[in-house]
């Protein structure tokens, strides 16, 4: 197989996010690009959060997946800029989140102390679509999610935060 950027990106569609296994790192917007320099496949990734503990595992999976497909020389680079945002997640990815019981992120707001302290964004329940929900905790099983409760169907659920 001829190694091209296109082939590499195709192979990397199989690399899933370790914390949300039904989404790929491409769906998540973590995979930023691939290029070939002197026979080395250089893959660029960006962390979701500064301290994201999954980055080590993601880099490892990228190398393993490419090697399993015959791409031996691989280098994974981490870039910070532009900073990762949930606005990069595809609509399809957001739909998959909802199907699995996680309320997907909405559009990000302009950053200001007032917007932070007076946040009135409502989050719809992924099970019954009701807006009659309340936040129970700012942080949930992972840093990128918060914990909500639906007052209509009495279910707790996670919300993937707008970031």
């Amino acid at each position: 197989m001829v190694i091209t950027e296109e082939n590499i990106l195709k192979i990397l569609e199989n690399v899933s996010d370790p914390e949300i296994p039904y989404l790929s790192i491409a769906d998540m917007g973590i995979l930023r690009g691939a290029r070939i320099e002197e026979d080395v496949a250089i893959i660029t990734v960006t962390p979701t959060y500064s301290g994201c503990p999954a980055m080590y595992e993601i880099r490892k999976r990228i190398v393993e997946e490419l090697r399993a497909n015959g791409v031996e020389r691989v280098k994974v680079e981490t870039v910070l800029s532009p900073a990762w945002t949930t606005d990069w997640m595809s609509d399809e990815a957001k739909e998959k989140l909802k199907e699995s019981g996680i309320a997907p992120p909405g559009k990000t707001n302009e950053f200001s102390i007032d917007n932070i302290l007076n946040n009135t964004d409502s989050v719809a329940c992924p099970f019954c679509n009701s807006d009659n929900t309340e936040m129970r905790a700012e942080f949930s099983a992972t840093a990128c999610k918060s914990l909500y409760f639906c007052n209509d169907c009495d279910q707790p659920f996670e919300h993937f935060k707008c970031h």
């Binding site: 500064s50 301290g51 950053f111 102390i113 129970r136 905790a137 700012e138 840093a143």
Partner: protein, 258 residues
């Protein structure tokens, strides 16, 4: 980012280490609550905040190590510097105390951090700019979390109110040091690398006092005697204890690998 002027390079290094030390020490403090939070959700919230701060600290230490020399790593700066070489503000090293103390220390730091990052995202140092753009998004949840508990505890029961008030009294004199400035800051402010935090002081105290008011607590006076010394390596007793816990393993077994 590389610097040819040694004086400027050293100032950027010093400034970056200050940013790193503040976050590293606060992260270490918060992580003490791992498995010891008052409820499960708070155990998770404080350790998630600790993780964000640790991630930020790592990025700053990596930059500072690069500016030091090629033989220095981020781990060297964390594990093999002594108390007097740490330049964090004293507020971050203070004991967790009760939950009201942990929350008020966090609120004072969170409001400061948002104001700092709001300007640092325009830094002429590309690394500091990129880290700030990443980190500022994380501070949003930290502030919402600490403010939410201010409202709950300040406006809660007589006992929670009393404890919140005690926390405010205890930590207030540590807030002033966040606005400390010396020749390192001055040089970098002039170069467009660091923000001039003295211009943010009024907004800071206005925001904190507004949250105190919402939490049914008395407003506080910013123009009182304040603690200082952390930026010059003078610390309270607490830092020695935290470094002992944090540095014990790599100092006992310097060649140990993760």
């Amino acid at each position: 980012m590389t610097y040819t002027d040694d004086k400027l390079k050293n100032a950027v290094r010093e400034y970056t280490i200050r940013l790193a030390d503040d976050r590293m020490i606060l992260s270490q403090r918060l992580s003490e609550l791992c498995g010891h939070g008052p409820i499960l959700e708070e155990d998770i919230a404080t350790t998630n905040t600790a993780l964000d701060l640790l991630g930020q600290a790592k990025l700053y230490y990596e930059k500072a190590a690069e500016l030091t020399n090629e033989n220095t790593s981020a781990d060297d700066l964390v594990f093999f510097r002594n108390e007097r070489e740490f330049t964090n503000v004293q507020i971050v090293e203070q004991d967790n105390g009760d939950f009201a103390h942990t929350i008020f220390r966090q609120l004072l730091f969170d409001v400061y951090e948002i104001l700092l990052y709001s300007d640092l995202v325009n830094s002429k140092d590309e690394d500091l700019k990129a880290i700030a753009a990443k980190a500022i998004k994380e501070t949003k949840y930290h502030l919402r979390h600490s403010r939410d508990w201010m409202l709950k505890l300040g406006g809660g029961t007589e006992e929670s109110h009393r404890r919140m008030k005690d926390a405010v009294d205890w930590f207030w004199s540590y807030s002033g040091e966040l606005f400390y400035s010396d020749e390192v800051d001055e040089l970098l402010i002039n170069e467009g690398i660091a923000p001039d935090m003295s211009k943010k002081r009024d907004e800071y105290y206005k925001t904190v006092n507004k949250i105190l008011e919402e939490s049914e607590l008395d407003e506080m006076d910013p123009d009182v005697w304040m603690q200082s010394g952390g930026r010059n390596g003078r610390h309270s007793e607490s830092l020695g204890h935290i470094l002992a816990a944090m540095q014990y393993l790599p100092r006992s077994m310097p060649d140990a690998k993760w």
